[in-house]
Amino acid sequence: MSHLLYSLKRLKICLAFFFASIIVIWSFILAAIAVANSVGAIIISGAGFFSFNNDVNNMTAALTNTSVGYGISTSNIYSGHNQSFAEFQSAVSQMNNNGISELHIYVSTHGNKNIIQFSDRTVSKNEFISAINQSSASTKHVVLDSCYSGTFYNDLSGVVGQDGTVITSTDENHVSRYFTESFFTGKLSDYLQDAETDENGDGKVTYIEAMGRVKRAGGWLPNLGHPKSISIPTLSEWKQIFLTLLMLSLVMGFMRDRSSALSVSTGSVSLKPPYANLLAFNRHIYTFALKWVGGIVVLGIAGVIVVSGHLKVIDLFGTLFCAPLVAYILHLVMSLVHD
């Protein structure tokens, strides 16, 4: 009995060290991710008229939306009306200085084919792309709302990075229309903030999802825009985590059963065969494991809120689903150690 208590005490100390290590490592990872994945945005208009200004305001609201949008921190956003090309170039440099690794660029303006207008002059496609290329961000999302902006599409696609996005308000032969705001940007910014746009249910509305809705709902009104995403669609992260844990649980449960059966067959443990399967679940050990996992989850959530400032609903549900599975795996490990 005393030996069992000693073992349990040692186990508790080991587990405490183990989870403390996990927390420390997790914090470092979160901090590293926060630095490495800092997201910024340049949201500007090349003309100073009211509809262009409204576009900038709409897109700023959409990209800072934390519930389903990209949730970019306002401190990482450069937004301006009636911007000159020099101001745009300066904004790109500013983002580089801030260590932005994922950059969103939105420009609303007038344009000809292969030309867009800034407040001081017209800028050719090559000049514009060259300015974007000055960004050190590995991933770029470029949204261009101007007439014939489709003429920029192919060339922009080459500079946005593997996970980047290019969206233009029109194709190569059509104009962009407006009233108090651009019809295209008005819809895009609305849908970027609407949870109903989240087609894959991962809790995040992407440009591609929003563009799909713009095309379906807009009809002829905003013309056809060009969406591009080079990313290959995969299962959402939570689905992968959940699936991994489930498989791990099954494998461990299966191994535990085989281990019991083997022990029984060799007669090394006094165990009646009808109870062997029940060893895959021990209520006391599971409750113990669940308490530990619950504690870690609470600390983890607090850490996420401290680091990122908010917690998405999908993450909350994902954690609630995965925590019992993690506790179950832990319970199996503890059962093995206990034996």
Binding site: F50, H110, N112, I115, Y148, S176, F179
Partner: protein, 169 residues
């Protein structure tokens, strides 16, 4: 006697000169006439739904004035500049008031001294892509200013998105 003849001839020339000057200024088209010609000959045959709006300065252009689109060069509307050669009523016809630029617009020049101008004879229509720039000054480039301007000669300012698709959609 010689002096009297000279004075008589001078008075005669002065009288004829004044009379000619009066006749010339009487023959110049006034703005309302030019607007009527614009609507009848240029806008009516072209207009599509309520996409059109037209604007014209209150004063006619004169020799030495210069009109050019905001941006010269590029596609699909490379545009061209025009130096005014005589008294001319200028109008800017926007064929798609909801469209950003560039898009098809017409610069219409009506010869104010022509008694009965028609397309090709006293009326010049240029296809351009931008708002006009008159003597280096942007003309109604701001839509808010444009839609409330007293220079509107045709169409109404939009009150919301268009209710019918554009012509070339």
């Amino acid at each position: 006697m010689k002096n009297l003849v000279c004075i008589f001839i001078a008075a005669l020339l002065f009288t004829f000169g004044c009379a000619y000057q009066k006749a010339w200024s009487d023959d110049l088209l006034v703005r309302d006439q030019a607007v009527a010609i614009l609507i009848e000959q240029i806008i009516t045959p072209r207009v599509y739904e309520d996409y059109y709006m037209a604007f014209g300065p209150q004063q006619m252009l004169t020799i030495g004035d210069r009109v050019e689109p905001e941006i010269l060069g590029g596609q699909p509307y490379p545009g061209s500049a025009k130096d005014i050669q005589g008294p001319t009523w200028f109008f800017w016809v926007d064929t798609d008031k909801w469209a950003r630029f560039a898009h098809l617009v017409h610069f219409v020049y009506i010869d104010a001294s022509h008694p009965n101008p028609t397309l090709g004879d006293g009326i010049v229509v240029e296809d351009q892509g931008w708002w006009p720039n008159i003597n280096g000054i942007d003309y109604l480039d701001d839509p808010q200013e444009r839609w409330t301007s007293s220079d509107i000669v045709y169409g109404e300012a939009p009150t919301g998105p268009p209710t019918v698709p554009p012509r070339n959609q």
